[in-house]
Symmetry: C3
Subunit: 158 residues, 3 copies
């Protein structure tokens, strides 16, 4: 099944499943994690064990995913608050000319399909992000948030 | 053109067009329907006749599409209200450990690009869902809804 | 790297970089522009110089992108206000039976990831569209807009 995917310098754990049409490079994927079709994972990304990264999602440089995390379909992470193609003088922007903001997704978080995650955010352990949300600030552990921008719906009772 | 797509156990009607980079398995696609690039269709999905399923969309198990339906680009269906990668004990979740909610899209519905459809929803005949909407409840026939969450804009006069 | 992409009748400038899993046809791409994975670009689209079109984005017929534009990941353009799969009589809709609305993205605009752009819109020079926005009307030059629907946040001071 891996013949139709591009995996370049990917550090794979045991029993990782990667479906077709995946583009991943310079990243780490932990034991038992499954990666769906049409997913791109950039350099420096670390994904924990037993995660599910669903189809059509994009994990950029600066994203760290802990164990047992569910990422739905079509979820877009970001790492630059003011992305630009070029500098003010019209030359192409290089890596030295922007600030990478890191995003941390803690254990057992679930991010619903169709979400966009703004850069520099921490999503606390066990939180659930409703499908179609735009997450613009940190999400407390064990909370449910939803909407654009995502707002607290309730705290999950254990 | 089909050489760059994965079609496994797909029941195809007549004059179906499937573009490249499609991942479809265990589903049914009716006569005259067109499937765009980068689309994933999961097992059990049934798509009617003369539909258009546009690029980058995801149709999950439990989705039933009637005849003459337009699905825009980047539309994400869902089937699980509380998706999780693992159980509380950290083991991988299996098919027996979650509840599939079905979604029905009736005849001649149009779903705009970039929409996310929450699970367990019926979208009534002839309805139009504005681009970029998040649909969180049933949509009446012949209505236009839009927004996050999607709200009724107006009823379409025949 | 281009072996896993489909490029048909694409007019390429100098030093264009196109990643794998791209589906592009009948379009023009200017010097120095980079196109990410899982991007579809339809016929008639013109993209300027030194742009960055990020992964998972969809540029439809009628979209014109000026120089130095940044398009984030998973951005969906549209060109039809009332898309339909079939006509009222149930026959498949043809090109003659709908109105194409054009979208213009001016110089040095940045469109954040996960945005949906309604049809017939002009996004003014230097504007920034926040990630996850749904753009429903024209965007003034040098403004920052965000939300669903996107609203003016502030004007960028030079």
């Amino acid at each position: 099944m891996e013949s139709k995917s591009n995996l370049t310098n990917v550090k794979l754990g045991e029993n990782v499943k990667i479906y077709d049409f995946v583009n991943a490079y310079g990243c780490e994927i932990g034991d038992g994690t499954r990666i769906g079709a049409f997913v791109e994972i950039q350099k420096g990304v670390k994904i924990g064990k037993n995660c599910k990264i669903s189809s059509h999602s994009f994990l950029c440089e600066g994203v760290y995913i802990a164990d047992g995390v569910f990422i739905g379909h079509g979820v877009m992470f970001t790492n630059d608050m003011f992305p630009k193609a070029t500098n003010a003088d019209g030359t192409l922007q290089t890596d030295a000319e922007w600030t990478l903001l890191e995003t941390v997704v803690e254990e057992r978080v679930s991010i619903g399909s169709g979400c966009t995650i703004l850069p520099g955010i921490t999503i606390g352990k066990g939180a659930l992000i409703g499908a179609g949300s735009v997450v613009t600030k940190n999400v407390p552990a064990n909370s449910i948030v939803a909407g654009n921008p995502a707002k607290l719906i309730r705290i999950i009772k254990e």
